[in-house]
């Protein structure tokens, strides 16, 4: 890690064990918290947003103590935070760094863009198959319409 980056990271104190989710678009930080079900989290949770970032201008960061996510669990956040990087920390050391990947399937994260879809009219969890990971296109399991990057919104 570069020195400059390190200094910025230290605006939020280090964790001993757990997962750091870095390079989250600032506007998506609270959505990431919601998707990962961290609102009820009982261990130490550090959240910062609107931090200066060379790469992104502004970014958010979330540090989750004593939590190591399963990949299908963490990949869900790629839909709101495609730039996010994951850093696995053990004994204050970086064990692993990786990018999030777009999952093949998304349940109850994305809102169907079709106002006439049953999921926008009844209390039903949305389900999508990701048919294009690169351009982000998702086919609604119910109305079969395609929600794409330019009309995506979240529940």
């Amino acid at each position: 890690m570069e020195k400059k980056d390190l200094r910025k990271e230290l605006k939020v104190s280090a964790i001993e064990n757990g997962t750091v989710i870095d390079h989250i678009p600032s506007k998506s930080v609270f959505q990431v918290i919601k998707i990962l079900n961290l609102t009820e989290y009982q261990n130490q949770l550090l959240i910062a947003t609107n931090l200066d970032s060379q790469k992104m201008g502004k970014k958010g960061i979330i540090k989750v103590s004593n939590k190591f996510f399963k990949s299908d669990e963490i990949n869900k956040i790629s839909l709101v935070a495609p730039t996010a990087t994951l850093i696995i920390i053990k004994d204050f050391e970086v064990i692993e760094k990786k990018k999030v990947e777009v999952p093949g399937y998304a349940e109850n994260i994305v809102k169907c863009f079709n106002p006439n879809c049953i999921t926008n009219n009844e209390d039903i969890a949305t389900k999508f198959t990701v048919i294009d990971k690169k351009d982000l296109k998702l086919r609604c399991h119910y109305c079969e319409k395609i929600t794409a990057r330019d009309n995506i919104s979240f529940r």
Binding site: I118, E122, I124, H141, C143, E144, K145
Partner: protein, 303 residues
């Protein structure tokens, strides 16, 4: 196909489609047989569709089934604010199969997941209407002897018509050559054209109906609705360009049949009705046999 719901035309394989069409042929020969007398069919019409409902109810009744249900949301508990889930959970206690029409897209898929009994989609908003697709396939196969290698023209509103989209997708399995005739504003959506391309099939797009008529085996007409145009002047310009008159049928193929999902307004003039190539009313009758085939095979009375 026992206990299998039919929500989307793609829920059934090509082999299953053919099996349904063959069974429908058997019911056409013998439409009245009391093989479903131990069964109750519920027709839940959350929006009115008299034609589709009567076709299903005729199909069920001729096979001896009892039919229960409602004809529009106003006469059901939906009016009191009941959720679709609750309606389906309740009704599936009372019947062996549900036939449902609903204004929201995806409603039939959801119902099939909640229901204890199989669900046949009789139209979910602008999404799917698979029994229409199957009756269209039956009509084409019956009049042409086969579904393979045909020249089929679709004329009119190719953009919004779910009937056209589903039928084009289904015909992609049969080496069809497509002739797509519509105003510029109402061209077939690119997603459906992609399905044609994926199968390496050929389609021709045109705004003129005259060149196409002599080449085709099936002429599938649809209604152009005024409300589809943002500018009423655009509608006025095209409204008479896609009308079929009897005089236009002179130099056409002997096996040509004219189809239309109905209701027709003015896109086929009434002088065509007497022409033996007009097939749209027989097409509607075929819907009864196809629906008999579906009810009987999903209820497990025939294999």
């Amino acid at each position: 196909m026992k206990n299998k719901s039919l929500v989307s035309i793609n829920d059934f394989t090509r082999e299953e489609h053919i099996r349904i069409l063959e069974l429908a042929g058997a019911f056409e020969k013998r439409p009245k047989q009391r093989i479903l007398q131990d069964f109750v069919v519920a027709t839940l019409f959350f929006e009115p569709s008299t034609r589709t409902r009567l076709s299903f109810e005729s199909a069920a009744t001729q096979l001896g089934a009892k039919v229960i249900g409602f004809t529009d949301a106003a006469s059901s508990s939906v009016q009191k604010g009941e959720s679709l889930r609750d309606t389906i959970l309740t009704v599936s206690n009372y019947c062996d199969i549900i036939v449902m029409r609903h204004p929201k897209e995806g409603s039939a898929r959801f119902a099939s997941e909640v229901s204890k009994v199989p669900v046949i989609n009789a139209g979910d908003g602008a999404n799917q209407h698979p029994t229409q697709t199957l009756l269209d396939m039956y009509s084409i196969r019956k009049t042409q002897g086969s579904l393979d290698n045909l020249n089929i023209a679709f004329v009119g509103d190719l953009k919004y018509g779910r009937t056209v989209h589903s039928l084009v997708q289904a015909l992609c399995h049969y080496n069809t050559t497509f002739h797509l005739v519509s105003p510029i504003e109402l061209k077939l959506p690119s997603a459906v054209k992609m399905d044609i391309k994926k199968r390496n099939l050929v389609y021709y797009q045109s705004t003129d109906i005259h060149d196409v008529i002599p080449k085709v085996d099936i002429l599938y007409m649809t209604r152009i609705q005024k409300e589809r145009f943002s500018d009423p002047l655009d509608y006025e310009k095209v409204k008479n360009a896609y009308v079929l008159r009897n005089s236009m049928l002179e130099d056409t193929k002997s096996n040509l049949k004219i189809m239309h999902p109905l209701p027709r307004v003015n896109e086929i003039t009434s002088d065509v009705d007497e022409n033996p190539k007009a097939y749209y009313f027989t097409q509607a009758l075929n819907g009864v046999f196809v629906r008999q085939a579906l009810l009987a095979s999903i209820l497990g009375v025939v294999d």
